[in-house]
Every structure is written in C-alpha cells, then in structure tokens.
Amino acid sequence: MVKFSYQLVEDTAKELYIRALKILPPDVREALKKAYEKETNPTAKEIFKTILANVDVADQEDMLICQDTGLPIYMVKIGSKFPVDGAQIAAALKEGAKRATLEYPFRGSSTHPVTRVNPQTSVGEGLPILFWDFAAHQDYLDILMVPKGSGSENMSAMKMFIPADGVGALKKFVIDTVLNSGANPCPPGVIGVGIGGTADLVTKLAKEAIVRPIGSHNHDPLFAKIEDELYEAINSLGFGPMGLGGSVSTLAVHIEWAHTHITLNPVAVNTQCWPARRARAKIYPDGRVEYGF
C-alpha cells in the first residue's frame, strides 16, 4: 500500500497542473453548453460552437485547452486530523509545478518582473502562488490547482471606496470594470468579486470567488442577491463571447466577502476566462489520491 509522502504531494501537484490545463470542470462545460443554446446572435453562436468544439478536441486528443498555461496557484486546505509539515508541502508543490512544465513539456509563463527573463519553469520567486486554509475534523489534504491566464488576470481591479460611497459604488465598480475589460479576458467567464477586508484580503477574496463552481451562490443571501443582480446587469450589456456582441457576456458572478474596518469600503474584481480551469485532489493519509474539481 502507498503511504502518504511529500513525494506523493509533488507528483500530485504535477498531475494537477496538467489535468487543469486539459480537463474542463463539468460545471463550466454545462454553463458553456447552456450559453450556446441560449445565444441568438449568429456571430456569438459561431464562437460558442468553436468553444465547445475546442473542449471536445482537448478531451479526445489529450490536448491543452489553451496555450496560456498561466501562473500556477495551489489552494491548499489542511485537515486537522492530518498533521503535515507545511514547509515540505510548499516545496513539493513548487517542484511539482516545475516538473509539469519541464516534463510535459508546456510553455512556462513565469518571468522576472524587471529583467523579463523567463526561467521556463512556471515557477520562480514567490511562485507558485500558495493559499493556505484549514479544514476542521477532516483527515485529508485538499489541493485545488488553478492555472491563471494573463488575458483575464490583466483585467483585475481593486478600489478602496469610503463608507459614504455605499454599496452602490461597489456594484458600479464591478459593472464598469467588466465593461472596460471588454474582449480581453476571453469572455464569457466567471467574474470574481471581493468585498470587505483590507486591500490585500479583498483581492484574495476575488480570486477565491472565481474558483467556486458555476451554479453555486454565496451562503449569505444578502451577497447571493448581489451576485444575481450583477449577473443580470453584466449579461444585459450585450458584449457577448469574445466581446464581439451577443447575449451571454458572463457565465457567473461570484462574491466572497469579509468584515472590514469601519472606515473602509474595499472592492476587488478578478476575472476568469471562459475555460475557467481548475483541478482538485484530495490526498489521504493512506496515500489514496482522489481527483476532482
């Protein structure tokens, strides 16, 4: 029997990166199919046809969905019944991401921010991006891998409003940001919105929002209602798939929130492209690995 090891985490991290680049989550497929059926604009319909064909070709021919292999993000949840060494997990995830890039091999998209030298490994200083969280009473290690493409990431925005601006300012900021992003983030994707916290936390919340399955709502009805309002508003803008006109401009709007300071009113938008890629693995102490989304 295979037992848990940090080598297993590394191998899983590698596998997760490749799976995320190839296998689109079922909720995203479903949303794209519905969008195709709903769309009436002929150009937009044609685009959805190509999108669906692309998902099929990637499945059938074992190919990458998109050439932007992105920056690797691993969102890790450590179960409280699974005592592990975080430092070794971090090292294993980095090595796994690097090995996926070199051994598959696919294009490494990470680069030095000043010299612009690309190490061709997808990793580097501060990369992969790691999110840490904990799951009470669970006996597994949950790893969600998100390859984040730049077309959509370049359209991210954050703003520190003041309490007097109210919630209206936040909603307007989201709509305006999406409108200004236009065709660049490969719409229709998932619009992630962070509300509350600090400048860094609100941005992180927006990122957590884009990885939620399409069809899910925020647990708090207050925020679920704002999600619906923004979804409806953005889809009435009419810019459609790839920003060339059409009725489906976004597949989902997700909000994650936190309490904030009495003087703060921050909002952040993180956009995800139509191939809202993600892959999940749960690793158990006996070495079992369950793959999912």
Binding site: Q67, D68, P105, R107
Partner: protein, 197 residues
C-alpha cells in the same frame, strides 16, 4: 456577413473587400509573433529575416518542442492584441503586413493604419487553442529562435478559422460598436440597481 476562404499572402484587393462581421478561413502560411518579437524588430531594430509582404500575423506564444532541427507543435493559441497595438502601423507601412489575427482587438492608430495601407484585424476565439493547434499543419520555421516562446514562427495552416473581421480597412471597429451599445444601456442598468451616477 459574407464568408471568405482566402489563401496567403493576401492582396490589398482581398483585404479591402472585407467588412466587420464577415467570417474568414485561411489557407497557406501565417506568422506567429508577439510582444518580445515586436520589441526586437522595432525597438532593437532587427529586420525580420523573412518577407512579410501580404503576411497574416498571429499574436501567439506557442508551446513547441524541438527535436533535432524540427519544431513540433504542442499547443498554439492566441494572446491579447491590445499589448501589441503600437507596432501594427509599422508592420503595415514598413513590412506590408495585411492582417493581424488576435483577440481583444486593437485601437485607433492600428485602425487608421488598416484604412491607409489596406489591412484588417481578424478575431479568433481566444482560449480555443486545441482547435487552433489542429489547424496548424506544421511549424515550418522559427526565426529569432533565441526569443522562443516569443520568436517569429512561420506556420503552415489549413482551414484556419473561422475568424471574424473585427476591424476593417473602411474604419469600422466591431469592438467599439459593441461597447457603444453597452454604454447606451448603462444608465438604465445603474438605475435598476439603485446606483447613483
């Protein structure tokens, strides 16, 4: 909304016929190019080692694998064109480029150059790299190899598309049209959500 099946290199006549919303399928050779390649050509003054007269350029940074002297395709997709906007007028004027394939579109300077020199912008479905890779028959040649994955790639394509004409040589800009329509709807949307503006 006409449909065209064109073979590269493109003539000025062929490009001038195209109107926004038309759909195009390409045969022949196209060139992959992007940020660093263009900085190399224009800012660092390196002349492209191949003629780009009538050429169709694709904004891409492909995943390729080199075995001996052969470049094998792994994944070829399209990147956001806005970043390469400032190079388009020079490509059309100086090198005779006729079409840019990309996603997201380009801006007024590029649109003006397309009108003046007879060029167009062809929108591809971004993110659909599996389909696109299959439509590339072969990586024929890689120029400025030291810049890979941002070198200059000569790609043989078959049934490449469908591409949507999003900027034409008559001053039409589909992205701007779509945006203008969206902006008209904004006041009503704000009002519905109780947003003061």
């Amino acid at each position: 909304m006409a449909s065209y099946h064109l073979t590269t290199p493109l003539t000025e006549d062929a490009v001038r016929k195209l109107r926004v919303r038309d759909s195009v399928i390409l045969e022949g050779t196209i060139f992959g190019i992007r940020d660093l390649t263009l900085i190399h050509i224009f800012d660092h003054k390196n002349t492209p080692p191949v003629s780009l007269q009538g050429a169709v350029l694709l904004h891409t940074a492909p995943s390729l694998k080199k075995t001996g002297n052969r470049w094998e395709k792994i994944c070829i997709g399209t990147t956001t064109s806005g970043r390469m906007d400032r190079f388009t007028p020079g490509l059309m004027e100086k090198y005779g480029v006729r079409a840019i394939i990309g996603k997201g579109g380009q801006y007024q300077g590029s649109l003006d150059a397309m009108k003046k020199w007879g060029g167009c912008y062809l929108a591809i479905v971004g993110g659909a790299a599996a389909v696109e890779t299959k439509q590339v028959v072969e990586v024929e040649k890689v120029y400025f190899e030291e810049l890979h994955p941002e070198a200059l790639y000569q790609l043989k394509v078959k049934n490449f598309g469908p591409l949507i004409v999003a900027m034409d040589s008559h001053g039409n800009h589909l992205y701007s049209e779509v945006r203008a329509q969206a902006e008209k709807k904004l006041p009503e949307i704000y009002k519905r959500l109780g947003i003061a503006f």
